[in-house]
């Protein structure tokens, strides 16, 4: 748990005809990372055709991407919480899709071209109609599009110049005007032209028609409009966008799976009869590989521990409950194979810092609900999405726990018993807690750094870390003595001697450390941000809750409903903004203050050959 998974170096000899079967089966298990052969036997060579085929497939993937980019995409809410429609297929279907890749792509591109033409046609049709209306209005008073008649009413629809709008009202005789409704609205495509609708009784139609004719009426050829619309419909019928998207997405995944296999093949060397594979496997997975090989393979397998000069790939291995925190470690970089994995330490302190910054039972529950929705949506789409949503679930639980400990519910408007302390009511105590947490985390960082250096047998560096600890704790003892928490000269002399010895050791190790001493102070003070973020969260939460409470207290169905809606919307806003701030600043405290004491991301991530859909 505290160190990356133990790795074994695997060297394997197989007959050529078993290559494809082996790669397919091992990729289903997802246990082996095939690496380039370091010392190639003289009669073995790399297959150049594999490289050519891989590049061809990469070009096909680019064509898929280009097609998918042109198709309409899902909205962000659907992407986040909408459940993914998983696309998978059997081996036979996969082979068929792969064989027809070119024709699928040609067909899709052809349809896309038609879609593009459709768009252009729609644009040009609208443009043509607009031009026609403009030209007709130069010579006529009104352009009529449609006349709808019922037994009692007539509705005329058309266009009129903006400058003629007043004239239209005036020219209708007063006797008819009372029984006439004229609606005018701006036209989206045409400047200085208004859409007009005139509704009147059937007996007035002849009078209005006569007047309009005397001023000049033109009608838009409906037949012409219908013909254009028909062309558009024809093309729309041809293209089923969803089906097209599904086909290309599936093809893309099939191609990516083939590319994965080819990448592995690139690293394999061969003769006409046999292939030679080198790679890394987790020690715990070795048994799976051996039992797979025993099922019908002719093989020669050699398994070794990594040599001292070798840097095996790193697979972080943590219990399921804290596995999601690996995403934070990986964001910074993975540790070297022989270094300690900071994830277990980080999982505790990260939850603690986030919980303290975002301590509120109600907001924590809202965040938990959102995280669960995200787990259902984004979590079903990708491995990283699953890890992120699990991480959010963990930290939302932490915020609920710290909400109970600090008695916070909706910014303290709803009273809960305070089980530990309330940061909003007692910020000075909270400041002391924050500083203490800072000292504890820095101590942890320096102690891990000390152990890391000892394990790597770099004694000088290990001593440097020890000197930092001496300086830190010597200074703290002196400070506590000054503040009279520790009384007596012994503490003053002991603290001073420890701090000065630490400082001297640091200077001997590296003079640059003298500049770094001030950073130790700034590192500790930096933890006070926990207090500020907590108080800002509680303050904003309290203000928003007080905004909605008069409506809720007023009672009645609508009062409670309106108040409830306001409460939910405002707290959803808090959850979005404040949880992000707490997340980012917890991240910062770990990356800048904690990791800088011991962690250098020197490792390469273990990427086993795996063909996931």
């Amino acid at each position: 748990m505290f160190k990356p998974a133990r790795m074994k170096k695997v060297k394997l000899l197989l007959p050529v005809e078993q290559e494809d079967r082996f790669l397919k089966e091992v990729s289903k298990l997802g246990i082996l990372q095939v690496t380039a052969v370091e010392r190639r036997p003289s009669n073995f060579s790399t297959d150049i055709n594999v490289i050519i085929e891989k590049n061809n497939l990469l070009n096909l993937v680019k064509r898929c991407d280009a097609i998918l980019n042109k198709l309409p995409k899902e909205g962000i809410i659907t992407q986040l919480i909408g459940k993914s429609s998983r696309i998978e297929c059997s081996d036979e279907e996969e082979a068929e899709i792969y064989a027809n890749a070119q024709s699928i792509l040609n067909n899709a591109e052809d349809k896309l071209n038609k879609l593009e033409k459709l768009r252009m046609l729609k644009l040009s049709t609208r443009k043509q109609i607009s031009l026609k209306i403009s030209s007709l209005l130069k010579e006529n008073f009104i352009v009529l599009k449609r006349i709808n008649k019922t037994d009692y009413l007539v509705i005329l629809e058309g266009w009129i110049k903006k400058s003629d709008a007043n004239k239209l009202i005036v020219i209708i005789p007063e006797s008819v005007r009372k029984e006439c409704l004229v609606l005018l609205e701006d036209s989206t495509d045409l400047k200085n032209i208004l859409k007009v609708k005139i509704a009147t009784l059937i007996q007035n139609y002849s009078i209005i028609d006569e007047i309009l004719r005397s001023y000049g009426i033109a009608s838009l050829s409906e037949e012409e409009e219908k013909v254009e619309a028909k062309k558009v419909e024809d093309i729309e019928e041809i293209i089923d966008v969803d089906l097209l998207k599904q086909q290309v997405t599936l093809l893309r995944r099939v191609l990516l799976r083939k590319i994965e296999i080819l990448k592995a093949k690139e690293n394999i060397v061969r003769t006409s009869f046999s292939i030679y594979i080198e790679g890394w496997i987790r020690e715990k997975d070795l048994e799976k590989l051996v039992s797979m090989l025993k099922k019908g393979y002719t093989y020669e397998l050699s398994v070794n521990d990594p040599e001292k000069w070798e840097e095996p790939p790193v697979a972080l291995e943590n219990p399921p409950i804290i596995r999601s925190f690996e995403i934070i470690t990986s964001m910074f970089g993975v540790p070297g194979y022989r270094q300690l994995d900071p994830t277990p330490f980080l999982s505790v302190t990260y939850m603690m810092f986030f919980g303290l910054m975002f301590a509120d039972v109600f907001d924590g529950i809202l965040l938990l609900i959102f995280s669960l929705l995200l787990y259902r949506g984004l979590g079903s789409r990708s491995h990283n999405g699953k890890m992120l949503s699990e991480l959010l679930i963990m930290i939302s639980i932490s915020s609920i726990i710290f909400g109970f400990l600090t008695g916070e519910f909706m910014g303290g408007v709803v009273k809960l018993p305070v089980l530990w302390f309330n940061g909003f009511e007692d910020p000075m105590y909270f400041l002391q807690i924050a500083i203490l947490l800072g000292v504890v985390q820095l101590t942890l960082g320096l102690a891990i750094g000390f152990l890391n250096e000892l394990m790597a047998k770099r004694l000088r560096n290990a001593l440097e870390k020890l000197a930092w600890l001496m300086l830190l704790y010597g200074s703290i003892i002196v400070l506590l003595n000054y503040l009279q928490y520790l009384s007596g000269d012994f503490y003053l002399y002991f603290g001073s001697a420890t701090a000065v010895s630490g400082l001297i050791l640091l200077m001997i190790a590296n003079l640059r450390n003298l500049i770094e001493v001030t950073r130790l102070v700034s590192n500790i003070v930096s933890y006070t941000r926990i207090v500020a973020i907590n108080i800002s969260h509680v303050g904003i939460s309290r203000a928003f809750t007080l905004l909605a409470s008069p409506m809720i207290y007023a009672g009645g169905f609508f009062g409670i409903l309106t108040g409830g809606i306001i409460l939910l919307i405002t707290h959803a806003f808090i959850v979005f903004i404040e949880s992000f701030i707490a997340f980012a600043h917890s991240l910062r405290l770990h990356f800048v203050e904690f990791f800088s004491k011991f962690f250098e991301p020197m490792g390469n991530v273990f990427k086993p050959l795996s063909l996931s859909w």
Binding site: M331, D426, R529, S536, I540, F580, L587, V592, P601
Partner: protein, 231 residues
């Protein structure tokens, strides 16, 4: 509400508002350009744009603290202290907003090329935000010190304590100027991530050195406030 208290409210919301406005304007304009080409990265761009909004939220919070208790402010010394509180969060918010805007724009540019740089770019964008958090901390200590937070009865503030509060807020405001330069150096560090991702650890050392100035400012401010009996 007397004139000084009013000015303190205006300082808190006004300056931080200008900072947020400029920060959002910078990040939003880059985001708009990016999502025209890569609409699927809308969510990531939104994160950086929203980050620039935080200074004004802190400004709003301090304004609300003061407004809600304005009726109990009845002497000149308390008003002077509150002016310090408003200035602390307001001016640090201004510098912070500018810094977030500059670094956030660079971060959006970086993730438009490489999405996997999101986490590391986020750290460089969050660094200028620390400045307004330090300002907020000083504001809260002052507001608490004059008895407007936590339901305590207003304390009697003598003129020495009042002017010390104002001085401590001036210190955090001046050192908070580092927020702007944190943004500038953060933006450069983000650009270098595009060239060499391993430069993250070293770049952060340089950027954090600038932030140290504000942390020392915070330390001196807190010690001054302690000396003035506000803590």
């Amino acid at each position: 509400m007397d004139v000084l208290t009013l000015i303190s409210v205006l300082s808190a919301i006004g300056f931080s508002g200008v900072g947020s406005m400029l920060g959002i304007a910078m990040t939003a304009s880059v985001s708009s350009r990016m999502i025209a080409e890569k609409p699927e990265r809308f969510g990531l761009a939104l994160v950086f744009t929203v980050l620039a909004e935080t200074p004004v939220i802190y400004g709003l919070l301090v304004s609300l603290f003061i407004i809600m208790n304005a009726s109990s402010v009845n002497d000149f010394n308390t008003s002077i202290s509150l002016l310090g509180s408003g200035l602390s969060v307001g001016l640090t918010g201004l510098f912070s907003g500018l810094g977030i805007g500059i670094a956030g724009s660079a971060a959006i540019g970086a993730i438009s090329e490489r999405e996997d740089l999101f986490g590391k770019s986020l750290i460089f964008t969050v660094l200028p935000e620390s400045i307004v958090i330090y300002g907020l901390l000083v504001s809260i200590v002052i507001i608490r010190g004059v008895g407007l937070l936590g339901g305590a009865i207003p304390h009697h503030i003598d003129s020495a304590s009042a002017y010390t509060s104002l001085l401590s807020s001036v210190i955090i405001c001046v050192t908070g100027g580092s927020g702007y330069y944190l943004g500038k150096t953060g933006a450069k560090a983000i650009s270098s991530l595009l060239k060499d991702e391993d430069s993250f650890g070293k770049s952060i050392v340089f950027v954090v050195l600038i932030e140290s100035i504000a942390i020392y400012g915070l330390l001196v401010s807190i010690l001054l406030l302690r000396g003035a009996g506000m803590i």
